[in-house]
Structure formats: structure tokens, C-alpha cells
Symmetry: C2
Subunit: 285 residues, 2 copies
């Protein structure tokens, strides 16, 4: 497995693969790879000849108050995990390589970023869209794989790709879960033991909504209510949002006529860890 | 010469050319082609096998108060001009093709757009950067040619290409002028006969600055003053800005140590036509 830290070198490598007729798949990550990321790499492998995993803790997508500094960066372990999963190239630029002095261009997906995580993390999706477009331009992948756990991110990237006429094909891979149902996340490592115990209530909320929807419920407030009810069993979780939203507009839906996203964000009370999860009701990504 | 109005069709055509080993040059225009555009097409021809000229009056780069509605759109004449100049493909999408319902992604080059035209036309360069990035993604050109007459646009696109890791090579072609020195512009057709007579004073201002710089003057205010002095001979021209700015930061320079841009914008008093011109002092683009 190759490790590349320079954007020009990565670009040249992509051109070389392209000329040799090899298709490229990109898995953008911030490192701290877990089985969720492994599944993204495996998915990319199924679609492409060469899998490039980017590892970059993107400062642009963290607000000043957020966990950029403490975000885990186990680089050697990540490389071993990526290689074992079938990754061919790790692209791991540093912040100066991605945002050199004088950097001043930003990609902003408006409207759909005013809801959910976008409403609670100002500037977050601008950082995400900007870095992902840069990665697309550096790697020129035919396919890029993102995890459905970051549902709004998937919708934002899909909107950006459509709007900016990007050529990449997007694949959204299902959320991988711990045995008790907690969605895998690099941030789970922040949790106290008590918080970890109660974190499963997020999944219980998701399951309650899926089950209620399965039973025929199409009222947004009722579905929202059942999630909130499940979460109330976990006093260490402070709810940031529980929403049932349209898959295109990301705006709240009062009566479901098309597939909708049930989305949850909580913050834990002891370690202030932010956790998100979601399910698509009546459809897929 | 092919005329393509659909972005997917244009994309497929570019892929076909690419597979056949033909290099592509893009000349982005808003139509109303004059000899300045012809020179851009000729320049693109020198660099590439296939020249694509885009003709698109981009609503995003016009403020509500500006001349979007009355901007000239002589499409058949433009196609004849482009073909005669050696253009192989005209890409002429309509606004709905470029910005379909739900469109919400924008590219913003910050900082350098707070000066000159950016300061006087809020949102203008956001519109320019967005449409140019879309055109790059649709056409995938190896080379794109822009006219130096729109100097700040050149600097904004250069910044965007560097920042977003775009693969296109930029070529900035010299300004083409009327016999009396007025920079060619589609907006010259708006001018009254009296305004047209006085418009040459813009070029006189440029020449005065170039001459003073040639004589050794390196003081920004002195160079600015000589331009303002020349423009004062034209009572029908209302000065929007006269600036000597850094080529990278686009911020005003007090003492010139590196190449600098002498830039002028005026608005005519009868037809309210906005005209711009510039010269690089001590260097090139």
C-alpha cells in the first residue's frame, strides 16, 4: 500500500492509474478508522480497481469550540487497518498541504445545510463540501463512498455533485453498528462507561421510529415523539435534535408521503460527546 | 462546428474527445462575441486540438440592479463568429440547465474579491467562480483561456484553481483594443456617441500610468493620481475606482516592489454603462 502526503503526487498517481485503465474509488475519512470505515473500503473495492483512502482531520469542518485538537489520530494503526481492508493508497496530506497560506476558496451548499447538524454546527458543511471537492479534484475517482451514519453529509455531497456537475458516482454505505446497536463512530472512544451504556438508547429511538413507520404511522410528529420517548430513558443524553425530514430538502415533514430521514443528534452530559444516528423511513439513500 | 445545449451531452462529448487523445481548450464567454473573444479562441486553438466556446449569460454574476436582461444575445451571429475563429464546439446551455430547481451550491473566493469590482458588485465573483467551476467540470478542459481585460476575474479564477486543486491550465490572453485604444467589451455597444468619444480616456489613463511607471515611478498614489488626472478630461465618465493593487492579494500597494495591477472602473453618465480596463505594471499575468 502506498502512502502519499503531497497533492500533486497523488494527482500524478491518479493520472497514471487512469492511463493504465484502472478505475479509482475514493473513501474520504478523518482517520481513527473503525469497522464502519472498513466497510466503506470494502464497498469501494467492489466498485473499483484501486481504492484510495484519504485520512485528513479537516480543520475547516470544526468550529473553534469543537474537538479538532483532541480528535484521535492513530495514523500507523489506520494505515494497517486500511491495508488489511484492501486499500491501495492512503492519501494523508497535512493541513498546510490542503490549505496553504493565502487559501481563500470555499464551497457552500446552501439551504439544506440550515437544518439538523448544519443548524447546530455553523460552517461545518462548508468545510465538508470544500474538502470533499478538493479531494475529488486531487484523486479524480470514478466512485466515492460515504457512510450513511453521516446522513446529512451524504445529502450535502449529493447536492454538491449534482449542482457542480462533478463526474464522480456516489455510493452511500449502510451504517455499521456495535453489537448493542450503537452506530460506530470515532467519537465513541470519548464516552465514559456510563455514557456508553446509555448510548444504545439512540439506536432504540431509531428502531422505535422504524417499527412505528412499519406499522403504518405517517405522521412526522408521532414518529418524532416515539424517538424522543425512547431517548428519555437515557438521562446522560442531552437531545440536540430529533427530526423527521425530507430526503431532498432536509426540511421537516409533517406527513410522510415519500421516503424520509429520521435523524437524531445528542450530546452526552459527562464528556460532552456529540453522537448522531439516523434511518431512512420508506426508502434508501 | 457542433452546438451543444445539454450538460450531460457536453460531458459525454468531452469524454469521447479525451478517449481519442484530443486535448480540449475552453473559452468561457457570455456571448456577444467581439475580436477580444476571437483572440481567446485563437489562443485556445494554439494550445489544444479541440476548442469549446461556452456561451452563457450567467444570471448568478449579475446583481438584481444590473444589465442581465438587456445583455446582448446575438446567438446565431456568435456561432458564426466562433466557427470562423476556429471553434469546434459551442456549449450554450440555458439557465435551467445550469441552475435547475433546487440548485444551491456556490463557490466563493474570499478576500481578494473584497477589492475593485468585487467591492462594487456584491456576489459578482461568487457567480463567476461557481459557473466557471461548473464549466470546468462539464468540459474537463486541459486549458482554459480568459481575457486579461477582466483582470480581477483572472486573479479570482487562478486563486480558485489553485485552492480547489483543479487540473486545468489557465491562459490569460492580452486585451484586444479598438483603434483608439478602448478595450473591446460587449458593453461598448451600450455607449452613446458622446460617451464612446470620451471612453478613450480610460486607455489614456492606463497609458499614463504605464509611462510614469516606465520612467521609474514606484509610488502607488502617484500612479493612481496620473490615471485620475487623465480621466478628469472625460466629464461623461464617473470614476468607480482607480487602484494600484498587488497581483496576488488584490489589495492596494503604496510602494511597488513587485508587479502590480493598475485597474480602472468607470460608469458613463448618460447610459450608465460600466467599463473596466487595466494594465500590469512591471510584469505579466
Amino acid at each position: 500500500m502506498k502512502i502519499v502526503t503531497n497533492a500533486s503526487e497523488m494527482k500524478n498517481l491518479s493520472i497514471t492509474y487512469g492511463k493504465a485503465g484502472r478505475s479509482l474509488g475514493l473513501v474520504p475519512t478523518m482517520g481513527a478508522l473503525h469497522d464502519g470505515h472498513v466497510s466503506l473500503i470494502t464497498t469501494a473495492r467492489e466498485h473499483c480497481d484501486i481504492v484510495v483512502t484519504s485520512i485528513f482531520v479537516n480543520p475547516l469542518q470544526f468550529a473553534p469550540s469543537e474537538d479538532f485538537a483532541k480528535y484521535p489520530r492513530p495514523f500507523d494503526k489506520d494505515c494497517a487497518t486500511a491495508e488489511k481492508a484492501g486499500c491501495d493508497v492512503v492519501f494523508a496530506p497535512d493541513a498546510k498541504e490542503m490549505y496553504p497560506t493565502g487559501y481563500s476558496t470555499f464551497v457552500d451548499v446552501e439551504t439544506i445545510t440550515s437544518y439538523l447538524c448544519g443548524a447546530n454546527r455553523p460552517g461545518h458543511f462548508k468545510g465538508v463540501a470544500t474538502v470533499v471537492l478538493k479531494l475529488f479534484n486531487v484523486v479524480s475517482p470514478q466512485v466515492a463512498v460515504f457512510g450513511q451514519k453521516d446522513a446529512q453529509q451524504c445529502l450535502v455531497i449529493r447536492r454538491m455533485v449534482r449542482d457542480l456537475n462533478c463526474s464522480v458516482r456516489l455510493v452511500f454505505a449502510p451504517t455499521v453498528r456495535e453489537k448493542d446497536g450503537l452506530a460506530m463512530s470515532s467519537r465513541n472512544s470519548y464516552l465514559s462507561s456510563d455514557e456508553r451504556g446509555q448510548a444504545v438508547f439512540i439506536y432504540k429511538g431509531i428502531c422505535a421510529a422504524v417499527s412505528l413507520y412499519g406499522g403504518g404511522e405517517r405522521n412526522g410528529a408521532a414518529l418524532q415523539g416515539t424517538i424522543a420517548g425512547a431517548l428519555s430513558g437515557a438521562p446522560l443524553l442531552s437531545v440536540e435534535y430529533v427530526e423527521i425530514v425530507d430526503m431532498d430538502t432536509v426540511s421537516p415533514v409533517s406527513v410522510l408521503g415519500a421516503p424520509a430521514l429520521a435523524a437524531i443528534a445528542v450530546r452526552t452530559k459527562q464528556t460532552k460527546t456529540r453522537l448522531i444516528d439516523n434511518a431512512v423511513l420508506g426508502g434508501t439513500f
